[in-house]
């Protein structure tokens, strides 16, 4: 049973079609990426599957069916528009929001204490939320999303306004949650973060799903017949190589369609070249995204 099943949902605001016939499935225990540029329809999709918005068409199944009050306790949500009560203490704010997720006061107090220690916020727990820095509030918001140990975690732009240290901490936290068995749906426009964490993803642009599937499969599908080679000496001209160009200290070789990487490797070894790096050049998600969006524009034109 999938954790989330989105079937052909559409949502229109006035004359803007924010989500247009989007479908995808999130499997239990995976980190799933919901990708797309700003304004692509990611947040609207999340709000539809959380039952905050009703879709104009299509259906959503979450944790095995329609959203219920009990299921809300099994979901942790970090919205893109971060929000906490500003005029009360951090401790009271977190305790109240945790209690709305079904935690009793004792449990809430204990778990919040653990997270505050871990996030280095224990010393400011009695301070008013508005007195905390943006980064601190971001971490507090993460505590709200995770404190009740949800089965499904939905996080919208989790790395926004985090420094590299805290970004790494959040990544570790998400991997830890996955190893605990939680399913994670992560929405972001930062493609490289998804490459690092996600197992599968859907890419949305202008409300429509442009790519959907396993990360590696999609990269392979979009890879051309290119190689990345790093050697101790300059590479000689090789038959079957159409073009060479420098690439991050290595050389990117574009091969003719009939030439295989193994043949090139054989040639290099035969010529006594000391090879330090030899790999098939896979496109990054950024490159794939640009190709998809540009292709769409060309189709429209």
């Amino acid at each position: 049973m999938p954790s989330v099943e989105v079937n052909h949902i559409s949502k229109t605001f006035g004359s803007v079609r924010a989500v247009d016939d989007v479908s995808f499935v999130v499997n239990p225990g995976e980190i799933f990426g919901l990708l797309g540029p700003n304004g692509a329809g990611k947040t609207t999709t999340i709000r539809v599957l959380l039952d905050i918005f009703k879709p104009d068409a299509g259906s959503v199944s979450i944790l095995g069916g329609a959203m219920t009050e009990a299921k809300k306790n099994l979901i942790g949500y970090l919205p893109e528009e971060r929000g906490l009560y500003q005029d009360i203490s951090l401790d009271r704010c977190l305790t109240y929001l945790a209690s709305l997720k079904g935690l009793n006061p004792g449990e809430a107090h204990q778990r919040i204490g653990e997270y505050l220690e871990r996030f280095d916020l224990a010393s400011v727990r009695q301070k008013k939320v508005k007195e905390l820095s943006k980064g601190m509030q971001q971490k507090a918001q993460l505590i709200v999303a995770l404190v009740h140990q949800p089965d499904l975690i939905i996080i919208d732009e989790p790395f926004a306004s985090l420094d590299p240290i805290n970004t790494q901490m959040v990544k570790d936290l998400l991997l830890e949650q996955r190893s605990r068995g939680a399913t994670i749906l992560m929405s972001t426009h930062q493609m490289h973060q998804v490459e690092e964490l996600a197992d599968r993803f859907v890419l949305i642009d202008h409300g429509q799903a442009m790519l959907y599937g396993e990360l590696e499969t999609i990269r392979r599908d979009y890879s051309s017949n290119d190689l990345l080679v790093r050697a101790t000496t300059p590479l000689p001209p090789l038959p079957g190589v159409i073009r060479t160009e420098p690439h991050n200290g290595a050389v990117k070789l574009s091969l003719a369609p009939e030439v295989s990487p193994q043949e090139i490797l054989g040639m290099l070894v035969a010529r006594g070249i000391c090879v330090e790096q030899f790999e098939i050049a896979m496109p990054t998600l950024d490159e794939i995204f640009i190709r998809v969006v540009q292709g769409r524009k060309e189709d429209k034109a």
């Binding site: 039952d51 009050e69 809300k72 929000g83 009560y85 109240y96 709305l100």
Partner: protein
């Protein structure tokens, strides 16, 4: 139910622990107490106080009169000796006034019986105490017009000693006391303020959560109905708490200063007004608080809410505008219609109840209609809470509000 309770307690604690709430709660009785203390210490009635502001008070009143008509032959026995001196001419009276022997004098012209005109001459300008002094000379004139018949003069001075008897099955209140007259005004204003204050707290709560952007987390945790009901009940209790504190302190102040303000010690509200008052307050509050929550859901911030708020509270203001008609004719068509129509009934019915004698079936009907409206409003606004309006940040339009209330996409 548990989450509704959690929202309720959080909302209640948030409001009552706010400094502004505590200050308002304590300052109103404190200021009232200070005012009452000042008034009772000074021991003056308002007229005297205002009069003394315009000119120095007359300490010992010795006045004179010049009677050209020959009417005044006797001075009533209740007028102390030396209080009033007769002068044969206006010149003599003027001299006495200028020399300070008298503070003022009256001139009764020859044609007084036909014209009724009396001139009152004094050195300074004070229209207020002038009027009060003239009453004393009226007694003199009345006594002489009736040929010196003291009993008749007293009766003419107060021809009607009205003894009001109410057949309504209420504990008998002192119908002759001034408070009986002011009670409907007081109750009406109290209700208006109470409902508006509590509904205002609701508007503030929703817009704050929108501005803090906590609303999205809340909606991912609770149902819109849980959120709305929790808030409505919590802020209603807050309003009642405020009323109880203010009423109790008012009651204590009245008791303490009862003698100086000439209030009957047994002054009390009929029990039925208190019970029906609670019913109409709770239901009326539920309607207006949910409407305010609806406004809060639609406006991007509190500043933009004032226009919307005014439109929403118009029905509540109508009974205040026509309050005199309601009190003078508490069972007329206007009073009956306004006290049955759900949006005006919370205030209008209280005005009628305080005036007395509302048929029981009308109370039941009004409460039933109001309860139905409250249920529909809460449901309609809860629907608005789940709609995209809550997160849209668009500016407020009244048409959009009513469309959303009717269940159409906003």
């Amino acid at each position: 139910m548990k989450k509704t309770w959690q929202i309720l307690t959080n909302e209640f604690i948030s409001v009552v622990s706010r400094r502004s709430f505590i200050v308002t709660l304590l300052m109103v009785p404190l200021i009232s107490g200070i005012i009452m203390l000042v008034v009772s210490v000074l021991g003056k009635d308002t007229q005297q106080m205002v009069g003394s502001l315009i000119s120095a008070p007359v300490v010992a009143i010795h006045e004179g009169y010049v009677d050209h008509s020959g009417l005044i032959r006797l001075i009533p026995p209740e007028i102390p000796a030396g209080r009033l001196t007769a002068f044969s001419s206006e010149e003599a009276a003027r001299q006495a006034l200028l020399s300070g022997k008298i503070s003022a004098y009256y001139i009764v012209p020859q044609d007084y019986i036909e014209s009724g005109e009396i001139s009152y001459v004094r050195q300074d300008f004070n229209p207020i105490t002038g009027i009060s002094q003239a009453e004393f000379f009226q007694t003199v004139l009345r006594f002489n017009l009736l040929g010196g018949n003291q009993e008749l003069a007293t009766r003419l001075g107060q021809p009607l000693v009205l003894n009001k008897v109410s057949l309504a099955p209420e504990p008998e209140r002192d119908q002759n006391n001034l408070m009986t007259f002011f009670l409907p005004y007081g109750v009406t204003m109290l209700f208006y303020i109470l409902i508006m204050t509590s509904a205002g707290l609701m508007l503030n709560s929703v817009t704050t959560e929108k501005q803090n952007r906590v609303i999205e987390i809340l909606m991912a945790s609770v149902t819109p109905l849980q959120m709305l009901v929790g808030k409505i009940v919590a802020l209603g209790i807050t309003g009642l708490l405020q009323t109880v504190v203010w009423s109790a302190s008012g009651w204590i102040l009245l008791r303490i200063s009862g003698s100086s303000l000439s209030l009957p010690a047994s002054f009390q509200l009929p029990t039925s007004i208190l019970i029906w008052g609670a019913v109409f307050f709770l239901l009326g509050y539920a309607v207006y608080a949910s409407l305010m929550a609806g406004v809060g859901a639609l406006v991007p911030n509190l500043r933009e809410a004032s226009q919307a708020t005014f439109i929403i509270i118009i029905p509540l203001i109508i009974p205040l505008i026509v309050i005199s008609s309601l009190i003078e004719n508490p069972h007329g068509t206007l009073s009956t219609v306004l006290s049955l129509f759900p949006l005006t009934s919370p205030v209008a019915m209280m005005t009628r109840l305080a005036s007395g004698g509302v048929p029981f079936w009308q109370l039941l009907l009004a409460a039933g209609l109001l309860a139905g409206t409250a249920a529909l409003t809460v449901r309609a606004v809860a629907r608005m809470f789940r709609a995209q309006v809550l997160l849209s940040g668009q500016s407020f339009e009244i048409r959009r509000f009513f469309r959303a209330l009717a269940g159409k996409a906003a």
